[in-house]
């Protein structure tokens, strides 16, 4: 394996990690602050992608589409909160899982009714449609770099928001002891609503940003949701910093493991056995990572302080 291939794969892993972070950030806040398991978070990612695709088609400009999609995703998240989730905060986790799973089924079919079952595609915006030559014969779309850059910007913005602002302080306080925050005169219901809407918007943003590189289709959020849960468990539930570190870790381990795992095994085993073992092992890697982290740090890498 050459060094350039390794660097390219690292970049790919980084981009995957950033995408996971954008989804996991909202999930970890909702789970950590509100103690609410929201399986429908992946669907909000899908809705963000559909809204971006739809508004882009309507306006003919991706950024205008994105600008319209974000507040719509926010409103949509708030609507869901008001209609469904608000009534589940006091219930136990099983009820929440059942109800939010129902929301997944409902919305997956709803986008089909609204936009059809065929995948939609969104063109890469002209300004970023170029690509960089990374290695011989391989171009790296600039848009992927934009995704990485915007992900880092959001990570920094979120970190500042949570550690430096009054709202962030309330969120942190809510994660530690929600009844006490409420007793001190903070409208905890409104705080929850803000956190929830914000999480939905972040997931929607992730969906919108990947729409030009992935196809937009019903059920696109279902697989990534499982990975997002792995990320927040590794990172420590409720911790933005943990979600960031864990997302990058998962992205890198998954990508590099799948690319170089079989080659590493080939050093020890004969080629066909290596390919067989590598094929079986690669999808397990992140779960092995999760188990390992939990053995050493049962509350995750950066648990929210209690």
């Amino acid at each position: 394996m050459s060094l350039t291939l390794f660097l390219v794969q690292t970049l790919n892993g980084l981009q995957f990690g950033i995408l996971l972070f954008l989804i996991a950030a909202g999930l970890t806040l909702v789970f950590g602050v509100m103690d609410f398991i929201n399986l429908a978070h992946g669907v909000q990612y899908m809705v963000g992608a559909y809204l971006a695709a739809w508004f882009t088609a309507l306006t003919g400009d991706f950024f205008l589409g994105l600008l319209l999609a974000l507040p719509t995703a926010l409103l949509f998240g708030l609507l869901l909160e008001w209609l469904v989730f608000r009534h589940l905060y006091g219930r136990d986790h099983l009820d929440q899982v059942l109800a939010t799973f129902g929301v997944i089924l409902f919305l997956n079919e709803a986008v089909k009714v609204a936009w059809g079952s065929s995948p939609l595609s969104v063109p890469i915006p002209d300004a970023f449609s170029g690509s960089v030559r990374m290695m011989d014969g391989l171009l790296y779309p600039v848009w992927r770099l934009v995704v990485i850059g915007s992900g880092f910007a959001i990570a920094i913005g979120l970190a500042l928001l949570v550690s430096r602002t009054r709202l962030g302080m309330l969120v942190r306080a809510g994660a530690v002891n929600a009844p006490m925050v409420s007793a001190l005169g903070v409208d905890i219901g409104r705080l929850f609503m803000i956190v929830f809407g914000f999480g939905a918007m972040l997931a929607g943003f992730a969906g919108a940003m990947v729409a030009p590189i992935l196809s937009v289709e019903p059920g696109m959020g279902d697989n990534i949701l499982i990975l997002a849960f792995v990320v927040i468990v590794i990172g420590g539930i409720g911790s933005i910093r943990g979600a960031f570190a864990a997302a990058l870790l998962v992205g890198l381990v998954d990508t590099l493991g799948r690319s170089f795992g079989p080659q590493m095994l080939r050093l020890m085993l004969d080629p066909s056995a290596a390919s067989q073992t590598g094929r079986a092992l690669a999808p397990m890697l992140i779960y092995i990572l999760m188990a390992a982290v939990l053995i050493v740090r049962p509350a995750g890498l950066f648990p929210a302080q209690r």
Partner: protein, 396 residues
């Protein structure tokens, strides 16, 4: 979107049709009536495949004036949801409650595995308009099971043969990590004797192929062969183009076709696939069908559509040959085996195992003058091709 309502429409329609059929299961009229049950995947991400088949069946029945084989025909359509367990319940309802004479379906092999036994054990005749697994082509072939599509291996073999004939020395294989993916590589390698640079198995439902594409670029193969149906295929094709790999020929099975092209668009132009037909097929009947289908649905038909259309034509020919005696299943089966109908793909015959003997082509994606995308036939790879399992079938 124009087709948006169809998704809800089918589900609602299917339920309504079922309820209606049940309510009207009153004594049949004096004349025999033909009942055709249709079971297809009409919900979920793969619904557009089932919709192509369903629309073609409706068109075929309409073209026959609602009388398949000259007999009043009722079509009952249900959705298998791409769930084998659900499909068994649905198909039993078709057989026992609706008492259908024929079942047309399904799209996917795993659903076929589930419904094959219930239908072939009954008196009804099962026609698969798409799924063609090896399991029912050999020892377990059955006199009341017909396939109007292909045996799955044949499609992968088209690309293997092409790669071999073209003299590609090093080919990179990539498929999803499940049984069909492994079968696909085996089918390709049955015809291709050159060096396989890498057999890359990616997780089922992979959406981002950037890591794979970097590996392909590093391996510098003469060609890439892949089997990546549905949404992952759409992503692969777009990302392949974005990564600037289009100089490496892209050979594929079930990856670029009329069900995925509306999403892949320009990114897929020039990519190769294997098929038994393409919308530019030079045949008056086929041309009329393409025009009618587009007028009715606004979509370009793919092989899913013509195989389903042929299934109705097949029933039509057999029922006519027996003089409309729908209840004489033995006579109908014998008449069907003759394949005495005008197939949209020209030459068509049944092998001893009731799988087709047909010509198979290399197809390539092209953009039409009207801006829509379709596959076009480039080269005939196999003539009157038979599947390799037929010899194990005891039927004559």
């Amino acid at each position: 979107m124009k087709n948006a309502k169809s998704g809800a429409g089918i589900a609602g329609g299917a339920i309504a049709a079922l309820a209606f059929a049940a309510a009207l299961a009153a004594p049949a009229a004096a004349q025999e009536k033909l009942k055709i049950g249709v079971i297809l995947t009409l919900s979920g991400p793969a619904a557009n495949l089932g919709e192509q088949a369903r629309d073609a069946i409706n068109l075929a029945v309409k073209n026959l004036g609602g009388k398949v084989g000259g007999v009043d025909t009722e079509v009952v359509t249900v959705d298998d949801e791409l769930k084998p367990d659900v499909s068994v319940t649905k198909v039993k309802a078709l057989l026992e409650r609706d008492k259908v004479d024929f079942v047309i379906g399904p799209i996917f092999s795993n659903v076929l595995q589930a419904i094959h036994k219930p239908v072939t054990d009954s008196s009804a005749i099962l026609i698969s308009p798409n799924a063609g697994p090896s399991s029912y082509a050999g020892k377990m072939c059955s006199p009341n099971f017909f396939v109007t599509s292909y045996q799955n291996d044949q499609v992968h073999a088209i690309l293997g043969k092409y790669a071999q004939d073209k003299g590609y020395k090093r080919v990179y294989l990539m498929t999803p990590n499940y049984q069909a993916g492994k079968d696909s590589m085996a089918g390709f390698k049955s015809q291709y004797k050159g060096e396989v640079v890498e057999e890359s198995y990616v997780p089922l439902n992979t959406m981002d192929f950037s890591a794979e594409l970097a590996k392909i670029a590093a391996a510098k193969p003469d060609a890439v062969f892949t089997f990546m149906p549905g949404g992952p295929g759409v992503n692969l094709v777009k990302q392949y183009r974005q990564a600037g790999l289009q100089n490496i020929p892209f050979l594929s099975a079930f990856t670029v076709d009329e069900s995925t092209l509306p999403a892949q668009q320009d990114a897929a132009v020039g990519m190769y696939g294997g098929a038994n037909w393409a919308p530019n097929f030079d045949n008056a009947l086929s041309k009329k069908f393409v025009a009618d289908f587009e007028a009715a649905t606004g979509k370009v038909p793919g092989t899913y559509a013509i195989q389903a259309y042929d299934a109705i034509s097949l029933i039509d020919s057999a029922v006519k040959a027996t003089g409309g005696k729908v209840s004489d299943k033995k006579a109908i089966e014998a008449a069907m085996k003759k394949a005495d109908f005008k197939s949209l793909r020209g030459s068509f015959a049944f092998n001893n195992n009731n799988y087709p003997i047909q010509d198979l082509y290399l197809v390539q994606v092209a953009k039409r003058p009207d801006g829509k995308f379709q596959t076009e036939i480039r080269e005939k790879i196999f003539t009157a091709d038979k599947d390799p399992y037929a010899k194990d079938c005891a039927m004559k």
